[in-house]
Amino acid sequence: MTAPFPTRKQEEWRYADLDALRPVWQQFAEPLTLTVGPGESFEKIWLPGDEDVLVRRVQIALEGGAKAQIFVLNAASEYGRTELDVSLAEGADFELFGANIGTGVSTNEIVTNVRHVGEGGRSRQTIRSVLNGKATGSYLGKVEVARGAQKTDAEQSVKAMLLDRGATANCKPELEIFADDVKCAHGASVGELDAMQLFYAESRGLDPASARALLLEGFVMGLWDSAKDADAIGEAAREALRKVVG
């Protein structure tokens, strides 16, 4: 039996492009599941594909002391969705570095549910969006800290850059905490390119388009700093930015 088709009344599908999702829903109705065993490490880099619609739904169980690092670039021309449900057992460590890069009328979103189940887990989510045209980029990130998950340390950092008045960034960090000795931080900002940075770059000789591209590259590329091999995702991000900046 497949899961029922989602509706926008469900918070986690609120900003989704359901029309784009419908024809491909069968493939994605059941999330992939994977388990990272005690003390093991896992790294995954997800690149955008050629598809207009690219959906990823993954459940990850991190057992005691396991580590996972996920790098994802969402840059579908129509609808891109990366959905992660992560549970952290005692001492587990989860890091997500994600970018939504979109133009036209595309919708790209990162939706996470990070569940700290065991004590002393750590999670870091860093999301950067660059949006032009009438594109939408969203981050819906829920962090749950279970009753016994003392000493949890969770952070969400979300920033979006809007290059056009028609572009939309949605950003919703959410915390549900049932333990009393935890550290959960989140920060979000939506802005435009800094006028002084642009002038500085132009006064050194960069034409306006190159200056914008360089500043946006700086905004996004820091995400891949801790990846073992960032060449492919870095190049894909540059390519996506070139399309977005035009």
Partner: protein, 247 residues
């Protein structure tokens, strides 16, 4: 080389420059001194083309070309360099990448060949060394985490790499300790003291002028040049203050 005629400029509709006229021929260094709010930085920004700095009257030519008709990047390609009073931080972009892209864009605009990665790194390392800057800093994001003095040194390293024809240096001496002041002063002389180059040195104090001796000193007050003279004028200002000297 740089000729400014009766330049009036406003910022947010407020008049700041009220008729500045100035001629810096090739081979000369001119200092502009003046109290806070006299329009020194505005003059620098107008010359470099900062958006929001509107010229309402008068003009400026650079090597015979209408400077104010050019976009900021075109001014850079023409050989104008602005050393910022507050160099701007650009996270996520390394110094090396920033300066290399800027230089190569300039070179393309002038119809010159671009520098390869290896050529550029060699040049950047040489210039960093000459300015006493650790070459490792070139790998760091532009000005991020640099101290005030390191930022000013980094500006001079950029100037050394770009070899402009004309530099407008806006309070490059502020925030420098004595050692840094010496090396920055020596850098300005080494990079810019040449019969075919010119410098407009904007400063509050005499102390940088001990290392970079100006050919002329101008006093800016309320958006106008109220006095001009030789290097001795800077010493007089230092002794007597702007109120006396500019009266």
């Amino acid at each position: 080389m740089l000729t400014i005629k009766n330049l009036h400029a406003t910022v947010a509709d407020k008049p700041i420059l009220n008729g500045v006229s100035l001629d810096v021929p090739a081979g000369e260094v001119h200092a502009i001194m003046g109290p806070n709010g006299s329009g020194k930085s505005t003059l620098a920004y107008v010359l470099a083309g900062r958006p929001g700095y509107a010229v309402s009257e008068g003009g400026a030519t650079f090597d015979g070309r209408d400077l104010l008709a050019m976009e900021p990047h075109e001014r850079a390609a023409a050989g104008l360099f602005l050393g910022f009073q507050y160099p701007v931080e650009i996270p996520g972009v390394s110094m090396l990448q920033f300066v290399r892209e800027a230089l190569n864009t300039q070179r393309r605009a002038r119809g010159e060949a671009e520098l390869s990665g290896a050529e550029f790194i060699k040049l950047a390392r040489e210039q960093a060394k000459l300015l006493g800057m650790d070459a490792e800093m070139l790998k760091r994001p532009v000005n991020v985490g640099f101290s005030g003095g390191e930022k000013k040194r980094a500006e001079m390293v950029q100037m050394g790499i770009m070899q402009p024809k004309f530099a407008v240096l806006d309070e490059t001496d502020s925030g420098l300790d004595i050692d840094a002041l010496k090396s920055v002063g020596a850098g300005i002389n080494r990079i810019m003291r040449s019969p075919d180059k010119g410098v407009l040195l904007i400063t509050h104090y005499q102390r940088l002028l001990d290392y970079v001796e100006p050919d002329k000193v101008h006093v800016l007050n309320a958006g106008r040049i109220v006095r001009s003279g030789g290097p001795e004028l800077a010493k007089e200002l230092e002794r007597e203050g702007y109120a006396e000297a500019a009266a």
